[in-house]
């Protein structure tokens, strides 16, 4: 009995230019996402990148609740809800089921894309262990895409492990005694997964302000074989508190301030991409973080001290990390790391 037959992946070549993008949509009308929702754009481009022979599994979150109202689904491809922390398990289950059925000749043998998406709450918090497990299984072709709008946005904007330092959420409101309620630094999800799962062939960070690159990233993740992971940073007008017209610009600012480095790790090889590469090579200026932060109401309570602290942490990422923006190890002990007070204004 041959149990080692591999199911091939679809060969999805990179799309060369926006005008070459397929016109056909697999995530269409019927959803109720907010104006300026970048995560909806992620869904649209992800589905476009993958094409019709695809199964999409969606964890609980905005992209479940807002997209799949009964009788008005926006999904053209088959779609199934999965539990909040189950994107990894959902992808593995569907991929394993298809693989077994194809091997045993119970269904037609063909490459079918399996994509499971999760938000930052479902991915970086609750679903981390299942995603990690999925990335260790070389036998299954699957993509886990985490759309990160930096809060539990569907349930009223509560902080997650992916919410940036100091942000005002409904679980971390600035108050009279404590200005900074959320004192944790954002989890380095893509770096952690790439470093921790050496057999995973593809991990990437994307942002839909650079839509073509993000779309091609999805195509590469689906073609390369085995389990893969993409982390997308999605500006969220409701959660970040800004005019929806600024979504695209905020995505660009996240990258050009160095807050959100774009990179991919393909077969273990790290490549910085887009504007991030230009910054790293000194061909483009890294903008001050205040230009990004002060456009968002969630940071409106920040004092100059807070902005400075945030800037210093991002500077560290770029100047002191062994692999800038990706891996936070250092060559030498550092005594000059700024120490924060309680954030209560009494330094």
């Amino acid at each position: 009995m041959d149990t080692m037959i591999d199911v091939p992946t679809q060969k999805l070549n990179p799309i060369k230019g926006v005008k070459k993008l397929p016109l056909e949509e697999f995530f269409t009308s019927g959803h109720r996402t907010c104006q300026g929702c970048e995560s909806a754009l992620v869904m649209k481009m992800m589905a476009k990148a993958a094409g019709p022979r695809t199964i999409v599994l969606g964890s609980t979150g905005c992209m479940y609740v807002a997209n799949t109202t009964y009788y008005s689904t926006s999904w053209v491809v088959p779609w199934m809800h999965t539990q909040l922390g189950s994107s990894g398990s959902a992808a593995m289950g569907a991929a394993a089921g298809l693989k077994a059925l194809m091997r045993k000749a119970k269904i037609k043998r063909e490459p079918i894309n399996v994509i499971a998406f999760c938000g930052d709450g479902g991915g970086a918090d609750m679903g981390l262990s299942a995603i990690s497990a999925a990335l260790t299984h070389p036998d299954y072709n699957l993509l886990i895409l985490m759309y990160d709008n930096e809060s539990y946005a569907n349930t009223d904007i509560q902080l997650s492990g992916s919410t940036p330092y100091g942000a005002h959420t409904t679980f971390s409101p600035p108050g009279k005694m404590k200005r900074i309620m959320h004192r944790r630094w954002k989890k380095n999800m893509a770096g952690m997964l790439a470093a921790g799962h050496p057999t995973c062939k593809y991990v990437a960070t994307v942002c839909m302000s650079y839509a073509l690159q993000a779309t091609n990233s999805v195509r590469k993740a689906l073609s390369i074989g085995g389990p893969t992971f993409i982390h997308s940073l999605d500006p969220c007008p409701k959660g970040w508190d800004y005019d929806p017209i600024l979504s695209h610009e905020l995505g660009e600012l996240a990258v050009s301030t160095g807050v959100w480095p774009l990179y991919e790790v393909e077969e273990g090889v790290l490549k910085l991409t887009g504007r991030t590469k230009q910054i790293a090579e000194g061909r483009s200026e890294r903008l001050p973080v205040r230009e990004y932060l002060l456009k968002q109401g969630r940071f409106a309570h920040f004092t100059d001290d807070d902005l400075e602290y945030f800037q210093s942490k991002v500077d560290e990422m770029w100047e002191k990390w062994l692999i800038p923006g990706v891996i936070p190890f250092r060559k030498d002990a550092d005594t000059a790391t700024p120490v924060r007070d309680g954030g209560n204004g009494s330094a």
């Binding site: 609740v65 009964y70 779609w79 289950g93 569907a94 394993a96 089921g97 693989k99 119970k106 269904i107």
Partner: protein
């Protein structure tokens, strides 16, 4: 040895000395299960050890995944089942509870998963032994729940469970409860049917228009809210209602094809024909109870035993009719339900509810015993029977007593 070029071999049943867990692993092989997920917790994990050996030896062709938690274990097979794979899973005690969210949505999604529960106490405090509270925790959610008594019954019931669960009229998961240690780890001679016989009994899993596949691009489990949720719940209720007759059909077919007879599928009656009083219980409790009944009958006491197999669907009408024949009934729970009516166990509460509309309602006594795997002894059974006789004479209040308890 069959000769070379001999005519078609007749399917042959063979007998093996195996545990309850191994019997279910053999059933997985016979049922040609496609995806199995494992995660360790005693005592159910023995089934996955046997499954792993079958896979390693090439006897079972399935995707066998060791998950990183019970929650993932059940979520993985849930999605595999959605794309059309026959799946098997299982757990015990707090492991089953760790999977609870996944267990909740599995019947709601009409996933005909078959799972084994190696019944175990819900520690803390730590206890490996049997209690039925783990499996019973899902009793309201749409899981079919069946308790088995022997390794043979475990194997047969697993095959029946696939047939019932995957029947389009049902499409609900089924958990097979095997008492930890007493059944999971005890060996007995089991007749293992030939593959041809199983194939004649068990059709292929066909998910039909609910299949998640690019050829059938449906959206599964959208946001329904108050607009539709109630209608969807009602469909699940109707499926569970239909399961009753599908179970009857499946056992009738099983008897016809395998030649092994279980009689009434929902509960086994032992020495009830002329009984004055009976005890009611589930699982391997039957061993000490049957031994005690044989002793007591030699002494002229007409005692019987009703062993409930299917707890969901619950055969309330049949059970009430049967129990109405006796002068008094003692219900033996290997579980607890703190603060429940009359402080009884779960089974007693269900039986009491089933009896309410009955024409004949004998006195009901409720017993809680054997928790955490504590042995239920023959003297324990005799003591319970004495109390039931007293109830028949109107000398015992209908209440709950803990048996075998250190006072």
């Amino acid at each position: 040895m069959a000769q070379m070029g001999a005519a078609i071999e007749q399917p042959v049943e063979h007998t093996a000395l195996i545990t309850g867990s191994e019997a279910i692993a053999v059933a997985c092989k016979l049922a040609d299960v496609d995806v199995i997920t494992a995660y360790p917790i005693r005592p159910y994990d023995t089934v996955m050890q046997y499954v792993a050996k079958l896979v390693a030896n090439g006897e079972l062709d399935c995707e066998y995944i060791v998950a990183e938690s019970e929650h993932s274990q059940f979520e993985i097979v849930k999605h595999a089942s959605a794309v059309g794979a026959r799946v098997f899973c299982g757990s015990s005690g707090v492991g089953w509870m760790y999977a609870f969210e996944a267990l909740t949505v599995t019947p709601a999604l009409r996933i005909p998963m078959v799972a084994m529960v190696g019944n175990r106490a819900l520690d803390d405090p730590g206890a490996f032994g049997v209690e039925h509270n783990d499996a019973l925790a899902v009793r309201d959610l749409g899981w079919q729940l069946v308790w088995v008594d022997t390794a043979q019954e475990a194997l047969d019931t697993a095959l029946i469970a696939y047939r019932v669960a995957e029947d389009r009229r049902v499409f609900l998961p089924c958990a097979i409860s095997c008492d930890g240690a007493f059944l999971t780890h005890s060996q007995a001679l089991v007749k293992i049917p030939p593959q041809e016989t199983v194939d004649a009994f068990l059709p292929r899993y066909n998910r039909g228009d609910l299949l998640l596949h690019p050829d059938n691009p449906i959206t599964v489990a959208p946001q329904a809210n108050e607009d539709w949720l109630m209608e969807i719940r009602r469909q699940n209720a109707a499926a569970m209602e239909r399961a009753h007759d599908v179970i009857l059909e499946a056992y009738a077919q099983f008897e016809r094809i395998f030649g092994r007879r279980y009689g009434n599928p929902f509960f086994e009656e032992y020495e009830t024909a002329d009984a004055d009083v009976v005890l009611v219980g589930m699982g391997t409790l039957s061993t000490p109870v049957k031994v005690a009944i044989r002793q007591m009958r030699k002494e002229g006491k007409r005692v019987g035993f009703v062993r409930v197999r299917w707890f969901r669907p619950f055969a309330a009408v049949e059970l009430a009719r049967t129990l109405g024949r006796f002068a008094a009934v003692g219900i033996v729970d290997r579980d607890f339900s703190f603060g429940s009516p009359y402080l009884s166990g779960v089974l007693a509460t269900e039986v009491r509810a089933a009896m309410y509309p009955a024409v004949r309602r004998p006195p009901l006594l409720s017993f809680i015993c054997g928790l955490g795997g504590r042995e239920v002894t023959v003297p324990d059974v005799r003591r319970m029977t004495d109390l039931v006789y007293q109830a028949a004479d109107g000398k015992q209040q209908a209440s709950t007593q803990w048996i075998g308890l250190r006072e």
